[in-house]
């Protein structure tokens, strides 16, 4: 099995799994405790417009993705907070709007769009060294911001009303958090693709909530879960020659479901 490490694409894939799990573990915890997974799903899918834009402009689609996902995060956040439209409805509309834009951009691009499937369903084996540098940079940025605003993020996630009274700029901090989600999407896109990102963002964090009542420990634990499951999925997909993104999600979901059943049985036995 160890011989797979000899390939440089495999080394890159493993590094990708680790770098992605760091961002995903930290930001995923906020997504879970603040219960904004559908909003995050909306940002993810809307970002597809950015991929399309990247193709259309003939650059690396990731460079179209970064500004586009940040913009959709900001619009999503502002619309859901300020307009009379419910957050649920706003999310669904922007979700489809972004995807529709992406489809039009790709249609307008001459020729065909190479690796489109990679962005939709992920392919961790296609990560280049320059992608890795970008991911490392984004990880560092996310870590610095979360370190600096740890107590603010905690306050708005826990109790927005009290946070407002105590003088926290709740809306700005919330938008900053959504921007971090947008950057995390950029980090995760090559791992599992737009369609599957939300599972990667929520499952490790939700699993870790079973083991600790401390936000920080939850982050460490979900980084560990994320890394472990991604690498497991990667090895399995290599061994069985099946798509890596979907395999990672299947491994994770499998463990998650078994865990839930086990938890339920345990509760019944104790009850």
């Amino acid at each position: 099995m160890l011989e797979i490490l000899q390939y440089s694409f495999m080394k890159n894939a493993i590094l990708t799994a680790i770098l992605a799990s760091i961002a995903c573990g930290i930001i995923g915890v906020y997504v879970v405790v603040k219960k904004i997974s559908s909003l995050s799903g909306g940002i993810t899918h809307a970002s597809f417009g950015g991929i399309g834009l990247g193709y259309f402009l003939g650059t690396n689609p990731l460079y179209g993705l970064i500004p586009f996902s940040l913009l959709s995060a900001l619009i999503m956040g502002l619309v859901s907070r300020r307009s009379k439209v419910s957050e649920d409805t706003a999310t669904s509309i922007l979700w489809s709007l972004g995807m529709a834009l992406g489809i039009i951009f790709i249609y307008l691009t001459p020729g065909y769009a190479p690796d489109l499937m990679t962005y939709l369903f992920g392919n961790i084996l296609t990560v280049s060294t320059s992608d890795l540098h970008l991911m490392l940079g984004l990880d560092v940025l996310i870590l610095i911001i979360v370190y600096a605003f740890y107590k603010e993020f905690m306050a708005i996630s826990f109790d927005e009303e009290f946070a407002t009274v105590i003088g926290v700029a709740v809306e700005r901090i919330y938008l900053l958090l959504l921007c971090l989600i947008a950057l995390t999407i950029v980090l995760l896109i090559k791992v599992v693709g737009i369609i599957l990102i939300i599972a990667l963002l929520t499952m490790p964090a939700s699993l870790s909530a079973h083991y600790t009542y401390n936000l920080r420990n939850m982050m460490y634990l979900s980084i560990f879960f994320g890394t472990f499951f991604s690498i497991m999925g990667l090895i399995l997909s290599y061994a069985l020659d099946i798509p890596s993104g979907a395999t990672i999600i299947l491994v994770m979901s499998g463990v998650y479901i078994i865990h839930l059943i086990y938890d339920n049985i345990k509760k019944k036995v104790h009850a």
């Binding site: 107590k151 009542y213 401390n214």
Partner: protein, 249 residues
Amino acid sequence: MTNVVELHDVWVSYGNVTVLEDINLTVHDKDFLGIIGPNGGGKSTLLKVILGLITPDKGIVKLLGDKPEKTHKYVGYVPQYASFNLTFPISVWEVVLMGRMNTIGPLRRYGKKDYHAAQEALKKVKMLEYKDRQISELSGGQRQRVFIARSLVTDPKLLILDEPATGVDAVMQKEFYELLKELKQNIAIIMVSHDISAISIYVDKVACLNRKLHYHNSKELSPEDLDASYACPVEMLAHGMPHRVFKLH
């Protein structure tokens, strides 16, 4: 000395429904004001207007002499219903420390002074031994005491309490009201409560709210005020309490 709270001609409506109508209220330093009134009478809305969480359709709101958005961080606030999710991974200690955010601002960490303040506040509400518990591991009353500690730790100039004694057992309630009595030596307190006996014993001034506010800057309400607010005669106030809400009549 500026007034702690000043409301002039404040109106609030949700859609077509008027919730607060022409509210005028002045709270002075070291006042202990109790607000009573029927459910749906706008009590929580009024508190949120004072805190700047709701902007009125009309009227002027001043908190500690300025706009509430600027000054609400000097107010200790205990909400009626906790608006958070109980399974949130946070300990009692972290909840109380959160109250110190008004003094330390962003990008800074909690320091010795903050830890000391949190410890003192938890001692006051007798919850120090629970400081490492996760909040879902507490009873309703214990949790309420933690939120009271969180409001005390802000070093407030005004304390706003919305039904603070809900779920708190009788012994602790008494201690809690004694604590408020001690606090009002230095700060103003506004408390919404259904507990009329507590209101009549501990507060200095009473207002009655049912869309309109009936308040005479004193502890007395006329029977007409109560009739107007509750739309039925209120009898529970005449049980021979040490102090009366009613004037003799």
